[in-house]
Symmetry: C2
Amino acid sequence: MARYKIVIEYDGTPFHGWQRQDGYDSVQQHVEESMVPFLKHAVAVHCAGRTDAGVHALGQVVHFDTDRDIDCFRLQECMNFYLNSVPICVLSIEKVPETFHARLSPIERSYVYKILNRRGKATIDANRVWVVSAKLDENKMHSAAQCLVGKHDFSSFRAVGCQQKSPIKTINRISIERYNDLIEITVAAKSFLYHQVRNIVGSLKLVGSGKWTENDFCTIFEAKDRTLAGPTAPACGLYFVGAVY
Amino acid sequence: MARYKIVIEYDGTPFHGWQRQDGYDSVQQHVEESMVPFLKHAVAVHCAGRTDAGVHALGQVVHFDTDRDIDCFRLQECMNFYLNSVPICVLSIEKVPETFHARLSPIERSYVYKILNRRGKATIDANRVWVVSAKLDENKMHSAAQCLVGKHDFSSFRAVGCQQKSPIKTINRISIERYNDLIEITVAAKSFLYHQVRNIVGSLKLVGSGKWTENDFCTIFEAKDRTLAGPTAPACGLYFVGAVY
């Protein structure tokens, strides 16, 4: 048996998320089905970051096992051929040690969240950004976000449906940068709670618009109470950037 | 009578170009029709850069005249309301002197052309880039392109259907930069021939892939013969960036 690592990019807009669900169109199903014509056997892949409906991936990482001796380049070409009708693209495939696990091995994962900060909807970036019309102060957002760095209880930013046992997570870095009307929030951690990034962004938006002070943000974070924090930012602005192994 | 300047962003994918054409969906028609509910009279707008079908605009500039005393902010909100179902967004509206003319007054226009240089189609950037799978050397492309700077006869990059009297144009700047898999070709000039940017890009791609040397490119440019130059790059990678007045 040999293990292979695949890096995948996708536009999450038309899918009901990464994970296979009966009766719904998932990225996982398309990826797995695109491998069968080449592998000649059914396959189940494991991924680094399960994305929700509408969330995009720039570098989703998956692994799979096979007994067949495969040519990575030919498998990639085959998958991209069968994925041609959906917005999913295989960027690379490589053989990895059998100890490699896409979900369990990452030492760091990163996400970027994109806010288009202007009046008027997105056109070229439709479904790829959250449009916020209130003028946001990205410096205040960046400054407030720094209290999240390190090992903390993230209950204030944990979705109700989160299945993880502990709300304790360690954020390695978070930065907020503006490029004209575009604000990018980049977050890196070994792992994340369900909706953690979108919940953080929903609250940082309140700092940016002046509804909350930076101190309010940190106080609400420390309260470990989801009901005190801001709403969940929409899925369409979120991108799984990649995983470091 | 007063004259107003409007800056507009659009995704060109669903339109048969900027210009009104009977029986076809044009950006101009949507823009003009979105103004009528507010202005209460028919209006004809003039634009800085007529874009072809599939070409995008980050900062298209138009002007129009009206006898009505209008509130620019309210007109912008009204237009964006009526434009809600199409990927067009009004970014700003301001009153300008009657000597201002969107098409005749620019001292400089600029375009950017985006190439996604990788194997495998675009997903998140579908319809927003030209995907070129052959590895391109952006430094050679940049170097070759510098022979275009200045006042020259651009017959080698002029479309057959170009209605301008003279093939002489002055390119102020052209630069080719790479950001990972993305190559951006930025060109600035007072005005352009029909398909000039797309024809230049189609030939620069041949330099980048190694089919032509930098010297080949400049020799073909100097030959003033469209038949010697490369094919026209696809519309979807081109963006009208803006005009300087």
